[in-house]
């Protein structure tokens, strides 16, 4: 049984698009988990969901106006929305969660409407389903897509490491950070931009409806077990990479949808971490 599975796997891995999908999936999972801890602690868990809907709307626009490289349209729109939403948290007429919900449903509706009215495709429901749940996008990546994804993930990781202490300070206590001269506004915009980048990348992996799972499950599991910021970040990165690897392997072997399988694995691992944290409240170390 085991041998049969292994040989089946190695057979699949001979195809370059499977290897691409695997590499990209793991990188995306890693990036989203790094940012996830900050988002959950800043009470912005839902922003991933909101932004992914914006990205869906932007993708619809790109499809309708028939742009060759849709990333060029999706990126700027998503980044702009991220900055607006994160800044709006402070002093806006419409408050944080309401603003996110509003932007999120509006872009989902407009995106679908645009596709319905103007798309040349014969299979609109199929396209929409693919974008929302990431059905096949991950298996149709070109080498250029993979390199773009690789470069961006690397940039996210390097920036995160460089600004790690500032991100900690801004997440923990904004007022104090501002008082000691940290450019809090600048870092909030930086965090928003990186989140937008991660979301656009993650859309390819799990589709826009499931992105939140990649952002929140690793962070919540890590916070259940560990007590220092550094170990929470490290554990959530490992958690996310493992969940993505297991999920993609299962999806390849069982032929299930990639995005939904990864999210299910995330959920199962989260349940295990939650139980461990409850059974032994002193398990967590610094």
């Amino acid at each position: 049984m085991m041998a049969a599975l292994t040989s089946m796997l190695s057979q699949y891995f001979q195809y370059p698009f499977v290897r691409y999908a695997f590499a990209v999936g793991i990188l995306i999972a890693l990036c989203s988990s790094l940012l996830g801890v900050t988002l959950v602690l800043k009470r912005f868990s839902f922003i991933g969901d909101g932004l992914s809907h914006v990205a869906f709307g932007a993708l619809a626009v790109a499809t309708v106006v028939n742009v060759q490289n849709d990333t060029l349209v999706v990126f700027p729109i998503t980044v702009a929305s991220a900055i607006l939403l994160l800044r709006a948290g402070q002093n806006a007429k419409v408050k944080g969660d309401a603003a996110i919900a509003m932007v999120s449903v509006a872009s989902l509706a407009l995106g679908y409407l645009l596709l319905h009215l103007f798309s040349a495709s014969s299979n609109i429901s199929g396209d929409v389903c693919g974008t929302l749940f990431g059905a096949t996008a991950i298996l149709t990546l070109s080498a250029a897509d993979v390199w773009l994804c690789f470069a961006m993930s690397l940039a996210v990781i390097v920036l995160f490491v460089c600004f790690y202490h500032k991100i900690f300070a801004v997440t923990f206590d904004e007022t104090f950070a501002r008082a000691i001269g940290v450019n809090v506004g600048g870092y909030n915009i930086f965090i928003a931009t990186v989140i937008a980048v991660v979301i656009v990348l993650a859309m390819k992996l799990v589709g826009s409806l499931l992105i939140s799972a990649l952002v929140i499950f690793p962070a919540l599991s890590a916070m259940r077990l560990y007590k220092s910021f550094r170990s929470v970040i490290l554990f959530s990165a490992c958690f996310s990479v493992c969940a993505a690897a297991i999920g993609m392997t299962v999806a390849i072997l069982a032929g299930t949808p990639v995005g939904a399988t990864i999210v299910t694995v995330d959920l199962l691992l989260f349940a295990i971490c939650f139980a461990l944290g409850g059974l032994r409240p002193h398990l967590g170390r610094a």
């Binding site: 602690l41 490491v161 460089c162 600004f163 790690y164 202490h165 500032k166 900690f168 300070a169 923990f172 206590d173 007022t175 104090f176 950070a177 501002r178 008082a179 000691i180 001269g181 940290v182 890590a222 916070m223 560990y226 007590k227 220092s228 910021f229 550094r230 170990s231 929470v232 967590g284 610094a286």
Partner: protein, 237 residues
């Protein structure tokens, strides 16, 4: 020149004046308590001294090489998230960011300084513990150690004992007094607790949208403002 001087300062929120005609002067080593009722402009003054907000008129002058970002700030206890996974050490070290610029890591010297500050506030033994497991009094000591990390000369404390039990509050007052006496740290403290203010402070500023009193603590106890306010708060308590 004094360490800190306010000249005829007016503070306002969206055109609504909160404090006006405020002038006072602080020398190195002073211990100033700002008292007054809720909404009298105490917290607004704190935010202004930290440069989180601009005065709408008047001047605030820092002397003797003091910069606004080297003021050690201790926020109200409720300001700190209660479920945050962070160790005491991580929190105390974060104060070094006031000087680290673009450098992405802490130097040995900065880590040693953080250790010193934890020792001064008596939380060294908690260094690896998570802040959410600590008592309110311990959390305030941790934040005080962080404030010391940013402070070169001046500590700014916003209701440091609010929400603490009397014993922990007394301990924190003792610690602040020690920092003021031994480390020559200048202290500005906003408080509701007039009894403690006249006991520990060298100077008192009583705010009610304008300064009702500024002078020494002894002078405040003799003044009409001080007498009536102390009688009033006693009656209330």
């Amino acid at each position: 020149m004094a360490l800190l001087e306010c000249r005829d300062v007016t503070l306002a929120y969206e055109g609504h004046t909160v404090v006006e005609n405020l002038s006072f002067c602080l020398e190195e080593g002073d211990y100033l308590c700002i008292v007054g009722e809720n909404g009298s402009g105490k917290s607004t003054l704190i935010r202004t001294l930290l440069h989180l907000k601009k005065p709408s008129a008047g001047q605030i002058l820092y002397g003797q090489g003091l910069q606004h970002k080297s003021i050690g700030y201790l926020p109200q206890q409720s300001a700190v998230p209660q479920d945050f996974p962070a160790t005491v050490e991580e929190i105390v070290r974060s104060a070094c960011l006031s000087r680290s610029g673009w450098r992405p890591f802490y130097t040995k010297e900065e880590k040693r300084q953080a250790e010193d500050n934890m020792r001064k506030t008596g939380v060294s033994h908690l260094a690896k513990r998570c802040c959410r497991e600590l008592s309110g009094g311990q959390q305030q000591r941790v934040l005080l150690a962080r404030a010391l990390g940013a402070a070169t000369k001046l500590l700014l404390l916003d209701e440091p004992v609010a929400g603490l039990d009397p014993q922990a509050g007394e301990g924190l007052y003792g610690l602040i007094e020690k920092l003021n006496r031994r480390e020559k740290m200048t202290v500005i403290m906003v408080t509701h607790d007039v009894a403690a203010a006249v006991k520990y402070a060298s100077h008192i500023l009583h705010l009610a949208h304008r300064p009702l009193f500024f002078g020494t603590a002894a002078g405040y106890q003799q003044s009409d403002t001080g007498k009536s306010f102390m009688r009033w708060t006693k009656g209330e308590g």
